[in-house]
Symmetry: C2
């Protein structure tokens, strides 16, 4: 017997659509165009070259041994390539997630200890499960509650915290401190213990990286090199500085002779299988960190993926992205990795290097796997200061103090949110800071909607258009006041509105009719219905009749279900403002 799909082509199409939706890789694998192959392969290699030092550096930032960073850059990438909808997004360890891992887990266990790694695996699993659940339930919209100013401020502040946190590797003496000011104080107090060799290597690396990024790129461009070559050379800078660092450290045996901290032995071999050990108490303790990581990493990652996709006229499915990132993180927890997401800078490089499909990610994963299998002994002499330099140069570009100025120009409230978030993250810590930022944005929004803009409108020339009397040269009539309320009516603004309308009427004793224009009223709740009921009585007591105009369907539905509609009277409800004015004799 033939399968169902063969007999019913439309079933086959629907099935295929569903499979394609949940396994987007099938689409590009099936229709893979051979001319894309070189481009994808080169992009994969370029990204791998960038990811090798980054993954080790970010692992160090997360309080983990360097191989964990490499492990997190193999299996999760393969899973993302199969499930993700972006061909350009470079999934793997990123700076801010690493910082969040460090802050969240170091409160529960000593960084680098067996228990610490166990907790990190559990965290990766939780992050993955939450993302997966949000994606499957198509609830990605929840993440929209992190607003642009909050994310911008959080990113800048976190980047500062990360950069300052790396000072201990550059200066060569231990610097702790839970809060930023403690870290700064300890850094200054210990300056006399600075290890000069470590400092020299760290500063040299920073100089090299900045030169490659800021100075070399324009030079190469002016020299006429093709863009791909420029990208390849510039993004190879971290690996170059790693190689130089290793050569110097090895040549002079600086770990023995000058007390230089080096990475040491990295076990060879593919990512070992791990099982995240789940206990209720640990899961509960890690939950705030997991939620923060989900919030921050997904918003960033989807934004990057979207921006890069639209340049190639490809489309991103945000919920499927959640599924893919969720699966990638769960994979990380079973292959000795740690939480991963799409990195901004690396994805841009990936796209510039020509990534078109998920094949680029597969090539990158293969590159990292090769390193793990054969080249780990090379990194024995890698100075930690070089990795710290990689982190510092990567994050310092995230500190954007011009963005709050741009925000200030368009929206003072949003600028205030930026400032509160920035200061809170620096002063009170990462998670508290972002929570305060989100809360500030919400409170400001509610505050704004609780004091709606109210405009008295008049007729614009001989048109049917009615506009604010304070902004336009419009015609009004003394016995009618037409008021447009620029907000939905709900509990937080309903009494404010009542006061405002009564004041408007009190200031105009000649007014006999008040027309409430509903063009901006998008819904009305039961508190507002109560207040309206009361307002109509008060207006009647003052000798003013109440009219409605331009009420939208959903609002009218609510009104009909209450007894208010009868109280207002059908003849006092008008389809448009103009109809209301004509009915009230405002013709001349």
């Amino acid at each position: 017997m033939a399968p169902v799909s063969a007999r019913h082509p439309e079933v086959q199409t629907a099935l295929l659509a569903m499979i394609y939706r949940y396994l987007p890789a099938l689409r590009w694998l099936r229709y893979y165009r051979r001319e894309h192959l070189p481009s994808d392969v080169v992009a994969g290699i370029v990204t791998a070259i960038m990811l090798i030092p980054q993954s080790m550096a970010y692992a160090q930032l997360a309080g983990l041994p360097p191989q964990i960073g490499l492990y997190a850059s193999v299996a999760p990438l393969i899973v993302y390539a199969l499930l993700g909808t972006s061909g350009q997004l470079s999934v793997g360890p990123v700076a801010i997630t690493s910082l969040l891992v460090f802050h969240g887990v170091s409160a529960l266990a000593t960084p680098g200890s067996e228990r610490y790694i166990q907790l990190v695996l559990l965290l990766a699993f939780m992050v993955g499960a939450i993302k997966l659940a949000l994606g499957v339930l198509r609830l990605g919209v929840i993440l929209n509650f992190i607003s642009h100013p909050v994310l911008a401020a959080f990113t800048s502040a976190s980047a500062l915290i990360i950069a300052i946190g790396q000072l201990k590797y550059i200066l060569g003496y231990p610097i702790g401190g839970e809060h930023l000011y403690e870290t700064i104080a300890q850094a200054i107090a210990g300056l006399s213990q600075t290890n000069p060799v470590t400092l020299a290597i760290g500063l040299a690396s920073i100089g090299l990286l900045i030169f490659f990024r800021q100075g070399l790129r324009p030079l190469l461009r002016r020299a006429g090199l093709p863009p791909l070559a420029v990208t390849l050379i510039v993004s190879g800078a971290p690996l170059l500085s790693v190689m130089l660092g290793i050569i110097v450290a090895l040549s002079f045996q600086l770990d023995q002779t000058a007390g230089l901290a080096i990475v040491g032995a990295i076990p060879a071999g593919f990512s070992p299988i791990s099982t995240p050990a789940m206990t209720m108490a640990d899961a509960q303790a890690l939950l705030p960190t997991a939620l923060t990581i989900v919030l921050v990493s997904v918003v960033e990652s989807i934004a990057v993926a979207k921006a890069l996709a639209s340049k190639r006229r490809q489309a991103i499915d945000p919920d499927q992205e959640l599924v893919a990132l969720g699966a990638a993180n769960i994979t990380a927890s079973f292959f000795s990795g740690y939480p991963v997401t799409g990195g901004f800078a690396r994805s841009v490089v990936n796209a510039q290097a020509g990534a078109i499909t998920g094949l680029a990610s597969l090539v990158t994963a293969a590159g990292i796997a090769l390193i793990l299998l054969f080249f780990t002994p090379v990194f024995y002499y890698l100075p930690q200061a070089v990795l710290a330099a990689t982190v510092i140069v990567a994050v310092i570009g995230l500190v954007d103090l011009r963005e709050p100025q741009r925000i200030w120009r368009t929206n003072r409230g949003d600028a205030f949110t930026w400032l509160i978030t920035f200061v809170s993250v620096l002063a009170l810590g990462i998670e508290t800071g972002i929570f305060i930022g989100v809360a500030t944005a919400l409170v400001l929004y509610l505050w704004r909607t609780s004091r709606p803009h109210i405009a008295i409108v008049g007729r614009l020339g001989d048109s049917e258009v009615y506009r604010n009397v304070e902004r336009h040269p419009v015609k009004t009539w003394p016995h009618v006041v037409a008021v447009r309320v620029d907000e939905s009516l709900y509990f937080a603004n309903t009494r404010y509105l009542e006061q405002a309308l009564l004041r408007i009427v009190a200031e105009r004793p000649e007014v006999k009719h008040l027309v409430l224009i509903g063009s901006a009223i998008n819904f009305i709740d039961s508190s507002a219905l109560h207040t309206l009921d009361h307002l109509i009585d008060e207006l009647r007591d003052a000798g003013v009749e109440f009219h409605l105009a331009d009420i939208k369907g959903p609002v009218m539905d609510r009104l009909s279900q209450s007894e208010l509609l009868t109280k207002i009277g059908q003849d006092h409800i008008h389809i448009t403002t103009h109809a209301a004015m004509l009915a009230l004799g405002c013709r001349d």
Copy 2:
């Protein structure tokens, strides 16, 4: 030299207006009309008759000796009469505030103890200070965040808690329990210890009170008594039941012979001066209770005052009400009282009895002062069961289970909020419950605004009116899609909107122009500006031009301050939807 005001009449007027605003009593004192005097005096006496038993009963509910209730009914009333803007509001102890006092303070000290009373004084001071501050800063609008469903559910649930809490006085054995279910379980477990005499007196009082309220009023009315006499007789019921209770208890010495709990000695004399002892730790511990009392009592009190004032065509200034209630509570803390506010039932009686100005309140205060000075010994034999009956009958009318049904009909979300609040207050306690209620209302509101209603509109006949294609028979053109977004654009909905618009365009390959109609867009934040910027690029990539129409002034201001306006282009911004459609050739 003449004072400034004599030389400048307009200064004098302004000064007077200010004095009148902050001391409203001056206005009614200065222009007092003699014909109002009998009405005010009778109302004051009627309210005093009602307040005597109520103030002692509510003090008992608050875990305080009865005289504290009487003290709270003298000095605070005088202060309110001078500063308040309502002539009808009857300030004094009320049931729900008393319950909140008991719950908040009994967690810190044993009810009735010296420390308990000290904490209650501090609480009254804090409640007063918060109200005063909100009033002076004109921040009363904050209280609007408690929505109608939350307040309705809270009131019903609290009334149930209060009524069940009074069972111990009616049954005559101790019933404790922090949560309602514990109280109910203890009440049932102890039924065999019921004191039959106490129960008989309690039930008789309840019967008498219900008869006066439900049965007698219609009888008297039908008998042709004037309304004032009816009000006087009906509102005298609590005092009558008090007198009967005293006579029965005294005659048979029921405290000795049958173990009846009586009020006992009440010290004679006017409210003693007290000073609230302020320590940081106590203030911190009491803050949640103080905030809850402010929230609940002010909303209720102002709503009552407004409703009664509008019947008499008088006006209420909500911020001045906060000042007056704040000053009344601070006064309570210095005259051995406890938190007071405007009571609903008592204020209605006050108004029905003819209260016109604050003089009625002054008469009431004088009546209570007389009781304190000369008649306290009378109340020695007052059975506690009679006071409990007063409380039960007063609050049981507050349980309104038809309101949620009314809410359900107009707004499912609000009905859900009602249910959550009601269940939370009963199951988790007063303060947690109201907090959960307020939070639920806010989250529902945000959720609603994060998924805005989006309508594709078309032309209604030959008018300039454009309405939803799904609700009206309208004309559309294939190359233009006009979309009205029924919500302000802000961080929580901006990505939802982007997805929705892209989907609309994707489903209509023939569309060349998208017109976004801004008639319901009341503001736009920086996150939305970012998303719009991105959306315009995406639409351009898809071969669709982006237009704006019907943008309001404040939104246009924001757009001009960003670079978005240049990107859209002046010729793509239209004053109305109709203008946009004409410009795009939609004429036929």
